[in-house]
């Protein structure tokens, strides 16, 4: 038998290591996915294939209402965060003013702030303003912790942008607003998509801040799942989780498509 070279040994080791890491990441999810199709109520033995749990999720009115709430809240949060974050990043990048550094820091800090603090402080604020908790308070709360992520992503992209691009657009007759829309925004698209994606997922699975700011009518899917899980494990949760994962993968694939610059046919 031929002896293996040290390079081959190293390659085999790397392959094994990669497989282990992937198993560590995806193993629990794979188990979950398998059990979501199991006829047994208990996640121990495989008894047979069924779509019953998916049907139950579909028929569970409070769960579906919460899912609808979550999607609407995440949608509005994403749009508001993209507008606020992109505009804010552009203004901070483009205009020099007194205190710009302080503003930049103040905008960045909430990203690192514990959610429990954000949630409690927002609750205090809404109480002080005598704002009834509900849909609006949840959206406001989500935008406050989501838009800095968009701002930071866009800011990083702006730092590497040729300042000549805006000038070239102005030079060719574009007003500052049109130059921003026609040239800067398309150049920022990858950062905007990445920021939007972050905002959407952050809003979609947020529990702590939402717990402080939601009302029973405006409850979100994570809060509802949390409530169900407290009562006991339910195979419906497996099915729900698989749906979540499938949706996440779909969003990632779509966003990667969006971030890629389409290549024209070679001449």
């Amino acid at each position: 038998m031929k002896r293996l070279s040290s390079h081959q040994v190293f390659c085999t080791f790397l392959r094994g290591w990669t497989a282990l890491v992937l198993a560590f990441l995806w193993g629990p999810i794979a188990v979950l996915a398998v059990y979501s199709f199991n006829t047994s109520r208990l996640n121990i033995l495989w008894e047979g294939f069924t779509l019953r749990w998916y049907a139950e999720v579909w028929g569970h009115a409070p769960l579906m209402a919460a899912a609808r709430n979550s999607l609407v809240i995440a949608g509005i949060t994403t749009i508001a965060s993209v507008v606020l974050g992109t505009a804010g990043a552009w203004l901070l990048h483009r205009y020099r003013f007194r205190g710009a550094r302080a503003v930049r820091t103040l905008v960045g800090v909430p990203v690192l702030m514990p959610e429990i603090v954000m949630g409690a402080s927002l609750l205090v604020l809404f109480a002080a303003l005598a704002m009834p908790l509900g849909f609006a308070t949840v959206v406001i709360a989500h935008v406050t912790f989501c838009f800095p992520f968009v701002l930071l992503a866009v800011q990083a992209r702006l730092a590497g942008l040729d300042p000549g691009l805006e000038e070239a657009a102005l030079d060719l007759g574009a007003t500052p607003l049109r130059a921003f829309w026609l040239v800067i925004v398309p150049c920022l698209r990858p950062a905007i998509v990445a920021g939007a994606l972050l905002a959407f997922t952050l809003s979609m699975d947020e529990v702590i801040v939402t717990y402080f700011t939601a009302s029973p009518e405006a409850t979100t899917l994570p809060l509802r799942i949390f409530g169900l899980a407290k009562v006991g494990l339910n195979p419906m949760l497996n099915a729900l989780s698989v749906l979540f994962i499938a949706a996440t993968i779909a969003v990632v694939v779509i966003s990667e498509r969006l971030q890629k610059t389409p290549r024209p046919p070679a001449a």
């Binding site: 040729d162 000038e167 102005l170 060719l172 007759g173 040239v183 001449a267």
Partner: protein
């Protein structure tokens, strides 16, 4: 179509740095003018004032006779070719070129026609659908040029447009730029630090130094009659030396140069009664021979200290008996045909008309 540009006493400072200091300059309609100077001299700031990206602290900018000092860039009939090209990365060559035309709200047919026309003019046929990152450096340069020319600006501004190209391509593009300017008759204002580019392209050169104009005129004129030591040394290779008047004749004045050798110059060039003045002698105007040349014929001897091979010619570093250092050019000829080596003693001769008197010190 083309318009004149006038700068009237413009000045601009950035913090404590004076970028432009009281510059007045007129570019005629249809002229090719180059702003030439070392980096940081203020030439780019002058260009940006014409484009509208900088507003002068003092003074006025006029385009086609109209005061545009306070007009934003998008309302000026001026387009620029940027040093970085600043092509829009998300748009194809065609859409980059059409950008300015679309903003002019031309009809679709008119835009298409103009884009096709300008693509043919800059020889980019076949590249219409490509994105900037799929083009070579030379092609990008042409797109930048085409994009700026498409809306038929009255004045085209070019900020070091050829600096990113390699030497061979730069030469080709110089010829093309000159040809294009002649054909279109548009006023071109070009910024460069490359004297060769300035000499090759421009009708007139405005030499900028430390935020001020040193000299403005046709390249050949600045070359032949530099007004200042800076002008003499920045364009071409010149030896700038101090000289003292030691005898005044009817036609020629006798000078002691650098406290060492003597030269005669036409007396009319000397600044009045001044006892001393700076003179410039171009490296290639020093004639080198092996046999002695009489002092009366503007001859003096020197030792070759170093010889640098430069292809068509050799650059010699000379030292005279009195320690004056000079640079001279010697044609690259075969050994024994008048070539010199380091350590040789050579005789130098300078025609009186070839000495440039720069003015009082």
């Amino acid at each position: 179509m083309s318009a004149s540009v006038e700068l009237r006493g413009v000045a601009k400072r950035f913090g404590a740095v004076v970028a432009v200091d009281d510059v007045s300059l007129t570019v005629q309609a249809g002229e090719f003018l180059t702003l030439l100077g070392p980096s940081g001299c203020g030439k780019t700031t002058l260009l940006r004032m014409i484009a509208g990206f900088e507003s002068p602290d003092r003074g006025a900018v006029l385009i086609g006779g109209a005061d545009v000092t306070h007009l934003p860039p998008h309302r000026r009939d001026v387009n620029q070719v940027f040093q970085s090209y600043a092509l829009f990365p998300h748009l194809s060559v065609r859409d980059n070129i059409a950008f300015g035309l679309r903003l002019q709200r031309l009809s679709r047919a008119a835009i298409e026609q103009r884009v096709a026309e300008i693509i043919a003019l800059v020889a980019l046929v076949g590249c219409e659908a490509r994105k900037p990152h799929e083009l070579s450096g030379g092609q990008r340069q042409r797109v930048a040029l085409a994009r700026a020319l498409a809306p038929r600006p009255a004045v085209l501004l070019l900020d070091e447009p050829l600096s990113a190209l390699d030497a061979g391509l730069r030469q080709t593009m110089q010829i093309e730029l000159k040809r294009l300017q002649r054909r279109l008759g548009t006023t071109f204002v070009l910024v460069t630090h490359d004297q060769g580019e300035a000499l090759a392209l421009s009708d007139r050169v405005a030499l900028v130094n430390r935020g001020r104009l040193e000299q403005v005129g046709p390249a050949a004129e600045i070359y032949a009659r530099p007004a200042t030591a800076f002008a003499a040394e920045f364009i071409g290779q010149a030896n700038v030396i101090e000289a003292a008047m030691i005898g005044r004749g009817a036609e020629l004045a006798r000078l002691r140069v650098g406290g060492d050798f003597e030269l005669s110059v036409p007396v009319a060039l000397w600044p009045g009664e001044a006892p001393r003045a700076k003179i410039a002698i171009r490296a290639e105007k020093i004639r080198l021979v092996a046999a002695p040349v009489a002092a009366a014929e503007n001859g003096f001897s020197a030792r070759v200290e170093e010889k640098v091979f430069q292809g068509a010619s050799d650059r010699l570093s000379l030292v005279t008996a009195g320690g004056v250092r000079l640079i001279a050019m010697a044609p690259n000829v075969r050994a024994g045909q008048g070539s010199f080596r380091a350590g040789d003693t050579v005789w130098c001769a300078v025609h009186p008309e070839d000495v440039v008197v720069l003015g009082e010190t």
